[in-house]
């Protein structure tokens, strides 16, 4: 399976329907790369003409801005906007809520105006339009799944239903944690916390949240953010539950449940 870059497409004089903004976690983190690959499989399956920026993609500056380093954020934003505007990008999809938030809410003021979709919404639309069909209930039939809301998708942007709608397409049992939706508890990674040790406390945020997720009795903790995924995976390992409880992204869950139709296979 070949993943085309913008540079290749531009050379051929082609334009993609959508740019897949992979994000740093999705590009470099070994666990998150699996989410990226799963999402690309879905993009290929539906036959949409997409591209990535490849080596030209850069951190959009989210952790820098939230840590307080506005200079670094503005530098990254400037460079990314130059590249995106240079390719005349109109529409993007991303598997990272932090990237989604920053493109949706913060880049427009800096001259970067793009239609950005988070993959939860994107997948929901594919399912609604019948472009993605779940095979006989899928590999997750009857499994108990709990969904962890990412702060930057949920409270930050009010998207609570789309990821749940995606999971409801499976023939599985969706259970909610007590703290869900707008009351969802953070995994502990946002605001640049991912890149430093926690401050002194009595517990780790990701341990507290993972314990809550495990206590639902779910065998799958679904998330829609690569950072939440890392934090919750660590929390599950902390309880030595990694053999019983899997932390999966909604893209991985859908990719594993898709009804393969030969005409779309590449």
């Amino acid at each position: 399976m070949h993943v085309p870059t913008m540079a290749e497409m531009a050379m051929k004089g082609e334009e993609p329907e959508i740019l897949f903004w992979v994000g740093c976690a999705g590009s470099f983190d070994q666990r998150a790369q699996k989410i990226t690959k799963a999402f690309v499989t879905i993009l290929n399956h539906i036959g949409i003409r997409f591209a990535i920026l490849g080596k030209e993609e850069m951190c959009n500056g989210d952790p820098a801005r939230r840590a307080g380093n506005e200079f670094l954020f503005q530098m990254m934003a400037y460079q990314n906007i130059q590249i995106l505007n240079g390719y005349n990008i109109k529409k993007m999809v991303t598997t990272c809520p932090h990237c989604f938030n920053i493109f949706k809410n913060e880049y427009p003021k800096l001259g970067g105006n793009y239609e950005i979709v988070h993959h939860a919404t994107f997948l929901q639309e594919l399912i609604d339009q019948g472009k993605v069909k779940i095979e006989g209930g899928g590999a997750f039939k009857g499994k108990r799944i709990t969904f962890h809301d990412s702060c930057y998708l949920g409270r930050a942007n009010g998207i609570y239903e789309a990821p749940r709608a995606v999971l409801e397409a499976l023939d599985s049992e969706l259970v909610e944690m007590k703290r869900c939706g707008s009351k969802g508890m953070c995994c502990g990674a946002g605001g640049a916390q991912m890149f430093k040790e926690e401050e002194k406390g009595t517990n780790r945020i990701n341990f507290e949240r993972s314990d809550e997720a495990i206590s639902t009795g779910a065998t799958i903790i679904a998330s829609s953010c690569p950072y939440c995924n890392t934090m919750l995976t660590d929390g599950v390992k902390n309880r030595e539950k990694e053999n019983e409880v899997a932390v999966l992204d909604i893209a991985e869950i859908i990719a594993a449940s898709i009804k393969k139709t030969p005409d779309h296979e590449s």
Binding site: G26, E70, L72, A156, F207
Partner: protein
């Protein structure tokens, strides 16, 4: 005697209103020390927020039981003000139960309704006292409330109970008097009311003069109590009963996820990348982020004065829940305390920061600020539209950009983003390695 009472009432009322206005204007001055921010766009959406969040108390209903209790106390407060209008007019004009002259049968309905509210307010305030002092609901008993904040809350609840009891006792003495003497002084028969009617039974053995004395004492204590309460507000967390309304109006209309842009830094970076655009000549030096209260947006200061220290923010804060020092409520309390301190500096004829102190470090530490995950749980929970995260971000900006004060791991992360275009120390050439892995 009657004229003396009228004059005394007018004088007390005028003094109470003058003192209150003076203190509110001082708070207004303190709030306007903050940075300018235009929040007058889209008045339609803003009025909607006032209706839903302030009048409707929408956020309170995230916990329906407490919401109902609070709503009754709040409605009681607002509606009983209509009765205070009658009391004030009686005070000025030297009349008694002025409204009964032209309301006819409706007057009894009017007072009955207030009496029921008075009983409910008393009962619910008692429940609130129990929640704070006996049950010790976690968010209402956390250490940051020790001392004045805790007493403040109890004073408010006790005062409300006393005011309600005075109102009911006043009506009961009035009724007992009506039953004994058809027309004693200005007291006239307005019939028995729902609560004070039965209560008046216990007063039936008292002499008319004693009853009139009780009624007058309650009347005066009640109205003086209300004036005292009004003047207590500027010093109290209870100020939210007034400030919740403007705070809902000026609350942000854009998504919570958006952090406010810094156009000055945006320009600096643009001039660095395209030097030909840079303006010539000396540029004014600006502070980045906020070190002290005047560096914050005026809305953040209105937020601080609107905070009633309920702690819903802190109860939802993932950092606080896991034992970190950060408490969004404490951020708001510290901001108000510092704004008040600056106000006192100004009152003493000194400069705002003449004491050499600042909000950052002296009131809020770097450790608290660094524990924030920017998850917006505190913002989501606040029933009166306060945004603690705005303050946290501005203080973080000052820490990083003015003081270069960052944990080593963050400095490493900054370096990686700058040099490798990713927060990790990985080669930018490997960014699409996953894609080449998919080729096979």
């Amino acid at each position: 005697m009657q004229y003396f009472q009228q004059a005394a009432f007018v004088l007390i009322a005028a003094f109470a209103i003058w003192l209150f206005s003076k203190n509110i204007l001082q708070i207004r001055r303190n709030i306007l020390l903050g940075r300018e921010e235009d929040l007058t766009d889209n008045p339609r959406a803003r009025w909607k927020q006032v209706l839903l969040l302030a009048f409707g108390q929408k956020k309170m209903f995230r916990n329906p039981l407490v919401a109902v209790l609070h709503f009754v106390v709040y409605a009681g407060f607002i509606i009983i003000n209509l009765e205070v209008m009658e009391i004030a007019l009686d005070g000025i004009l030297g009349t008694h139960r002025l409204f009964s002259n032209f309301m006819g049968g409706a007057y009894a309905v009017f007072i009955n309704f207030f009496e029921i509210l008075a009983v409910l307010v008393t009962a619910f305030c008692a429940i609130f006292l129990l929640r704070r002092n006996v049950v010790k609901v976690k968010r209402l008993a956390q250490a940051e409330l020790n001392g004045w904040p805790k007493s403040d809350a109890n004073y408010i609840l006790i005062t409300e109970i006393i005011l309600m009891c005075l109102f009911l006792t006043m009506n009961a003495a009035d009724r007992a008097l009506q039953l004994q003497v058809p027309q004693y002084g200005h007291y006239k028969d307005v019939g028995a009311f729902l609560i004070s009617g039965p209560l008046s039974e216990s007063f039936k053995n008292l002499s008319p003069a004693t009853l009139a004395g009780i009624e007058r004492s309650c009347w005066w204590l009640h109205i003086i109590g209300i004036f005292a309460f009004l003047n207590y507000l500027p010093y109290s967390k209870h100020l939210h009963i007034l400030f919740a309304f403007p705070n809902a109006y000026y609350a942000r209309l854009f998504p919570k996820g958006e952090i406010k842009n810094m156009p000055r830094v945006q320009d600096e970076v643009k001039y660095m990348m395209q030097p030909e655009l840079a303006p010539t000549g000396e540029q004014p030096v600006v502070k980045f982020g906020a070190k002290d209260v005047p560096d914050l947006s005026w809305k953040s200061l209105l937020d601080a004065y609107s905070c009633t220290e309920c702690g819903r923010c802190t109860a939802a804060c993932p950092a606080n829940l896991t034992g970190k020092l950060l408490s969004p409520r404490k951020i708001m309390m510290a901001t108000r305390d510092r704004a008040e301190e600056i106000g006192r500096n100004l009152n003493a004829g000194k400069e705002a920061g003449a004491d050499g102190k600042s909000l950052l470090h002296d009131y809020i530490t770097a450790e608290e600020l660094r524990a924030c995950t920017t998850c917006n749980a505190c913002v989501e929970e606040c029933p009166v539209s306060i945004n603690p995260l705005d303050i946290i971000i501005e203080l973080r900006r000052s820490l990083i950009m003015e003081e270069s004060n960052a944990p080593a791991e963050w400095n490493a992360m900054f370096g990686n983003i700058e040099n490798n275009f990713a927060p990790w120390k990985l080669s930018p050439d490997d960014r699409d390695k996953w894609a080449t892995e998919m080729e096979s």
